[in-house]
């Protein structure tokens, strides 16, 4: 089933915009959890483009890939939040500019 009303370009532009917002978030924000949320936004931008490509080419592999991205993002979230928690226990901060024992 092809989505006929919205052309592929629109999906790609939206996905590229979301990806750039995510990248800007990672670069500009200093709170580890917000950086992590921006990374999730990047991954979801990729999911959108994967599904769009998959739907327009009629190939199922792209949609399958999306499930793997979601599973991996969940695994990363589990590990990442555990690391942030361990950091907070040691240092009472989650701001990455305050973590500078080693030269950043």
């Amino acid at each position: 089933m092809l989505p006929t009303s919205i052309p592929l370009d629109y999906y790609l532009i939206l996905s590229a915009c979301l990806f750039v917002i995510g990248v800007v978030g990672v670069i500009t924000r200093r709170n580890a959890i917000i950086i992590f949320m921006s990374i999730e936004l990047m991954l979801n931008a990729v999911n959108l483009s994967m599904v769009a490509f998959s739907a327009f080419s009629g190939d199922i592999a792209g949609q399958m890939f999306v499930f793997f991205i979601m599973a991996v993002a969940a695994a990363e979230a589990a590990v990442g939040l555990a690391i942030v928690l361990a950091l907070f226990r040691n240092k009472q901060t989650i701001y990455v500019d305050e973590i500078n024992i080693m030269k950043w």
Binding site: A32, A61, G62, F65, V79, I83, M102, K103
Partner: protein
């Protein structure tokens, strides 16, 4: 779907051992560190043997998503070997730091299985899963000393930047998928080779994003800034493992992906080649020049590992069998010499950042003659001095680069090798020709002695019998 069970044996065995039996042992047996250690060492040995046995059986399995036999099996053996050596070094190290938990060995074997998946991938999805399996295990291992702020800091930096790179990785994959209509390496290669992609611009952007993400994994310029901090802060045995086997795995994926993206007939090839050549040249210069200024041995070795990624990239630039077999040889020798050097650092190190400065190595030859000799072998080999393995690996890479017309890149590489000799040999001079300036207690390597013996032996044997070993390597391709 066709599954070739015989050829998939190494992968099936390590997954079954890890995902089913290993978890059950940890769930139902108490006080089991020794058991888990033995169990996973056995797993790695058996997996390596199976990879050797099935190496001549080339083909694809799991519906063409995984390629088996040949160079992927060679890398399997390398990863399992490095994993085993890291485990032997890790046990005494973690016991000394009072944090030997059996999960460490699980994570290590899980990282090895991810690396094997990267080498075996014949599909972008499989490559993605392999990279993530390896990386997530590494994030946990980097922060394994969870009350040590340096270890946590290393884990957080590695995690945030690694996850950021993952975003670029999957975005690149999605653009390549959109431009070529497939995730299979062979289909992508034929679409690129015949220049019949629907969206050539998307394909080029996708290729660059993929190169960015893989450059992050191998710590190439300008995506190398995480490496010194992560390698310095992580427990030394973890650094030893992830700066060697992790880099070897990334290069096995790099070879497979760029063999696909740079077919000789494609219009995109010269630009990609030039981009990688520039990255390689800057990476080795930055790594070696910054290493000269370091006072911390661990950080110096971290910068040296960045420089080695630059040398290895020359083989990708050469874009042909000569380049790829040179990478295979050099990454093997690099894995053993760098792993050994970090293990020596780990043996001498004492908790709370003691004995990590280059000045602490003064007069080591008088206190610990054997360790000093071993360290000197690694330093000579890393500097590329004959007859050690590092020299012949560099030689092969330089020849491959010259033959593909990149003479300027080779000149840069030679110059940066000369720079690197300064700090490698500086450490040797410190160990042999200066007096110790403070009292040190005697160190006993324990199980790590096995690691040191094997890594020194391989660094020497690879150098002495290069041509014989290369002809054996030829049969793997």
């Amino acid at each position: 779907m066709h599954i070739d069970f015989f050829g998939s044996l190494p992968l099936l065995v390590i997954w079954l051992a890890l995902g089913a039996i290993g978890i059950a042992i940890q769930a139902f047996v108490r006080n089991n560190t020794r058991l888990v250690f033995g169990y996973y060492s056995g797993t790695l040995v058996i997996t390596a043997l199976l990879a050797l046995i099935t190496s001549a059986h080339k083909g694809t399995t799991f519906g063409g998503m995984i390629s088996i036999g040949g160079f992927a099996n060679y890398f399997d053996v390398l990863f399992c070997g490095a994993g085993l050596l890291a485990m032997f070094a890790a046990r005494p190290y973690l016991q000394r730091e009072n944090s030997e938990l059996d999960e460490f060995y699980t994570m290590l074997v899980s990282a090895v299985s991810g690396m094997m998946l990267m080498a075996h991938a014949n599909n972008l999805l499989v490559l993605f899963v392999g990279i993530e399996l390896m990386s997530i295990s590494f994030y946990i291992m980097a922060g394994f000393l969870r009350t040590n702020i340096r270890s946590i800091e290393a884990a957080l930096k590695y995690f945030l930047l690694g996850a950021f790179a993952t975003g670029f990785l999957v975005y690149g994959m999605s653009l390549i998928y959109g431009a070529t209509g497939s995730l299979q390496y062979d289909v992508i290669a034929s679409v690129i080779g015949e220049n019949r992609s629907q969206f050539p611009t998307l394909l080029a952007i996708g290729a660059v994003f993929l190169a960015v993400a893989l450059s992050f994994k191998i710590a190439a310029f300008p995506f190398h800034q995480w490496a010194p901090d992560v390698y310095e802060g992580s427990p030394t045995v973890v650094t030893a493992f992830m700066s060697t086997a992790g880099k070897a795995a990334a290069f096995s994926a790099f070879i497979a992906v760029f063999a696909v993206l740079m077919p000789a007939s494609s219009l995109m090839t010269p630009q990609l080649q030039l981009m990688l050549a520039a990255v390689a040249a800057i990476t080795m210069l930055v790594g070696n020049v910054t290493a000269v200024a370091q006072t911390n041995v661990k950080r110096m070795l971290a910068y040296s590992s960045i420089a080695h990624a630059g040398y290895l990239l020359m083989g990708i630039v050469a874009n042909g069998e000569a380049g790829y077999s040179a990478i295979t040889f050099y990454v093997t020798s690099y894995t053993f010499m760098q792993l050994g050097a970090f293990v020596v650092v780990g043996i001498l190190e004492r908790g709370n950042e003691e004995n990590l400065q280059i000045d602490d190595y003064a007069g080591l030859a008088k206190r610990e003659p054997v360790l000093a000799f071993i360290m000197a072998v690694f330093m000579f080999s890393l500097a590329g001095i004959p007859p050690f393995a590092g020299f012949f690996g560099k030689y092969l890479l330089f020849v491959a680069a010259i033959e593909s017309g990149y003479t300027w890149l080779t000149i840069v590489a030679v110059v940066s090798s000369v720079v690197s000799a300064y700090f490698y040999l500086g450490l040797v001079v410190k160990m042999y020709f200066t007096e110790p300036h403070k009292e040190h207690s005697h160190v006993s390597p324990g199980l790590a002695g096995i690691t040191l013996f094997v890594t020194v032996a391989v660094s020497i044997v690879l150098g002495l019998f290069t041509s014989q070993l290369l002809s054996i390597f030829g049969t793997w391709w």
